[in-house]
Symmetry: C2
Subunit: 575 residues, 2 copies
Amino acid sequence: MLPFLRAGARRSISGLGNHIGHAARRSSVGGQLQFRSGSSEAVASAVPIPEKPQRVTLSDIQERRSRAGRLVAPTAAPSDADMFKGPTAGKPKAKRWDHHLTHESTLRAPCKLKQAARHLKQPGIISLGGGLPCPEYFPISSLSLHVPVPPGFSEPDTLSGGETVAIGKYDASVPRAAGQPPAAEYDLCIALNYGQATGSAQLTRFVTEHVELALGAPPYADWGVCLTPGSTAALEQTLRMLCDGPGRRDTLLTEEFAFSTALETAAPLGVGVAGVPMDEQGLLPGEMDRILAEWRPEERGGGRRPHVLYTVPSGQNPTGATQGARRRREVYEVARKWDVLIVEDEPYYYLQMGPPGERKKEQEGSQGLEGFLDGLLPSYLSMDVDGRVVRMDSFSKVVVPGSRLGWITASAQLIERFVRHAEVANQGPSGFSQVILHKLLDERWGHEGYLRWLMHLSDEYTKRRDVIVAACSEFLPKEVVSWNPPLAGMFHWLKVRHETHPDAASKSILEIEEEIFNRCIAKGVLVARGSWFRAQQDKPPSGLYFRTTFAAATPENMREAIRRLGEAIRESFRL
Amino acid sequence: MLPFLRAGARRSISGLGNHIGHAARRSSVGGQLQFRSGSSEAVASAVPIPEKPQRVTLSDIQERRSRAGRLVAPTAAPSDADMFKGPTAGKPKAKRWDHHLTHESTLRAPCKLKQAARHLKQPGIISLGGGLPCPEYFPISSLSLHVPVPPGFSEPDTLSGGETVAIGKYDASVPRAAGQPPAAEYDLCIALNYGQATGSAQLTRFVTEHVELALGAPPYADWGVCLTPGSTAALEQTLRMLCDGPGRRDTLLTEEFAFSTALETAAPLGVGVAGVPMDEQGLLPGEMDRILAEWRPEERGGGRRPHVLYTVPSGQNPTGATQGARRRREVYEVARKWDVLIVEDEPYYYLQMGPPGERKKEQEGSQGLEGFLDGLLPSYLSMDVDGRVVRMDSFSKVVVPGSRLGWITASAQLIERFVRHAEVANQGPSGFSQVILHKLLDERWGHEGYLRWLMHLSDEYTKRRDVIVAACSEFLPKEVVSWNPPLAGMFHWLKVRHETHPDAASKSILEIEEEIFNRCIAKGVLVARGSWFRAQQDKPPSGLYFRTTFAAATPENMREAIRRLGEAIRESFRL
């Protein structure tokens, strides 16, 4: 059992009852809620949650950069978000999470060789310390990339479109001309050598500023970032940091249907999973509260009450559900009540979209950028007065998956433990990925260009979403298939009324699912079976679902694929 | 306790006694050996170890490729070494290692979404399955790199040197002209999307062939490879696959001085370390045998006898020691005797060099390449009749560290378990790194060019080694400092006779080490303290050492740094 009592609580959790009750009323799943308001073992802390994200502006960032001057960060230079953040005066510090750390994470010591690198700051010192290869032997003297440019971002496959951006080996150390500064702040000499496990200072600056610009800085002072080799790596590291396996037998809270790779990450660690029932807005805070309130270690093989929630708030994988702003606050309050840390996995965050047929007004006209940002649902980070959120961002869905590059944002304590692991787990992301993304996002596009790119992508995926939803209306038998048009992401989730299937009496849900899946394959369409995503494979399935994606196929192929799917379902249901 | 008995053993282990005895006589550390020859619990298997590596030739590879034709491996195409290996008829299969796998590794199930990808082979299928972003939205339409070319490899910083290699987005799918095949086998469209955790087919082919060309295929049939995001990641994954922590309390065998990051990887997993005494050729097989023979779980908190050896055979980090061919066979035999798996970490393998002042004859003249390969010490892979070796290779030291790219070679069983972990730990290396290295190594240089690059690098590091060794002769007080010139790698290890230090009676070895280290910093030279690398920090240090590297500093700076080090030591010793 964890210590839930906190001193200084002034606000009763009972004030939350209505919110959570409201959420529960919308639930398509939950029954009577067991909301334990005012329980003596669980109290919310005193700091109020900000009403809306506190974002900085592009001109704030510009001013900050010009004050700071040229960034000088040579090979393996240590860096952290504090070097690049805006002022944090007046904000509280994050709570300490020692009681949440695993045995493994607690045992991690700093990397001795990386520690020694601090001596390199001494002027004139010659290093015979670290085994860093000589850049003279890097067999690439320059890289260049051809990229699309704002505002149109047309695919520059012809020579007429786009621009070429060059990266030299010594751009950051060789002066442009006598008495001039070097041409760039980052180059191949730095990017292609060993670096810090946090990633480079150059890209750390970019993502730190981006967090403040697009999400709003967290409402506590000591937050930080760490670049990762993608959110797959970040999630495994985070679970190893927070969830103990055999012995303490931790259980992770997730949506009842969850990203299958996340489930496959937890299982071999000996970490159990408790799936929280969902509605069209994703996980239900009342249900989460109920699971936590009703937790009895003795009924769970001695496993302690879950203390970590893994959630995909926007365009959830696989259901496509997006948590509204109020839903997020309610979930956060439940997390505070039960001392739960929130792992917020947001690969699709910027692919938010209005309902079909309704062009998002904020994306039109000259005030587009401001409107785009104002229209984004708040990140858990922006309401995180305690520092209990680990947010995972990734460039995979919005730049390229092959970059294997993302970052986490969390409290300094958790970032430090995460970095200790990264030092031995991967040493940070690829230098090629880092320098290419720096050149594209920071140097060529800048923050504004990148935000416009995200708007552009969100528009493009909105069009794709509209195609698949229209195709479903046209081709799927509505008497047995239903859906909510997704408001973010890449996934469209279809519910099939298995109970009306002609073989419902003799076949299980999984058997019907398999039969339809096989018919789909025979007809030439691959969809994902809903059962692959069930958080608790030991429980009987609650329904029959298929996940489709509107990310990749051409509009014509998407229509054709949905037509085939409709045929497969009709045949199975003998319609 | 593990089952050591194997059926069909015909050869007594006692035939090894002389070898191991010989090794022990050279030991600078060991006392009386307890070599338990003929013990009933430990017998070597029947298959004889090949006398020398069975390498294929460049023309074998050329012929194989032309027979196979153009490699067609689109986005996320599965691949393995079997698609690219030479014939294995007549070779035995690797032994099974189920009893070596950790609980965690045993629990790993295949990734459901990646499994579903097999349906994509069906002609005409439309995928609404995986959430792969549309390459139309990859904001990079081409990349190009300027690279040095064989045979000179002069650094192409001026426009006159080197060549430019271009990578387009659709090079592998768009025909060069009507009726023609596409221009390339790999492109940005494939490399920058999600791929398999094994890495791409294109680079898998290259490393598979490279293993056969340069190391010789292992003498068992079912070996495989898996690309990794560098050997740091590979080691952590391998330890989690083979060494159980709390509960079974495994102990890892290493050299008594070992790569500190490797030690820092093992410690938080709850895996203990047993350091094997070394001589100038690295770990002593007789000592390894003694540790295993004398192992008493009841004296080790219940921990079972070590069943995994982690070793850096060439240019060991930190000691610079290189195991000779005979030493490697002896270590392998001890590993067979006690059913120990060998994790062979070989980042410096191709940086082998002759003794100072003796130009390696094989690198001169027209027969250079053949001679270079013949001169390489055998990899444990090449003698691995059981399939008990996991070899880790890396492009970090021989191309660029920032690629975060390497590969492991091991038995199919171990590769399969490793891949299951990679699917949730990182999803394989960066696509930028993969496509850039493919273009450079495979397309532009080809295998021959890459081997010539390795020869070139080995020559360059030999010159650097000669500089540091000469500087040590010139500037270090020989009455208290001694060394063996390294025969591979990047490190030069200095032994200091602490017992002659004027404060030896009142100060510990660690105190003297610290005092000299601090004097070095004050004089402007950073070296690595030997104690950072002690495998067993709980044991008293056996001597006073410093690790220096000849990898990075200019020759002038190296001389100056060694001069400062000499001054620091003289002052400390009041010489």
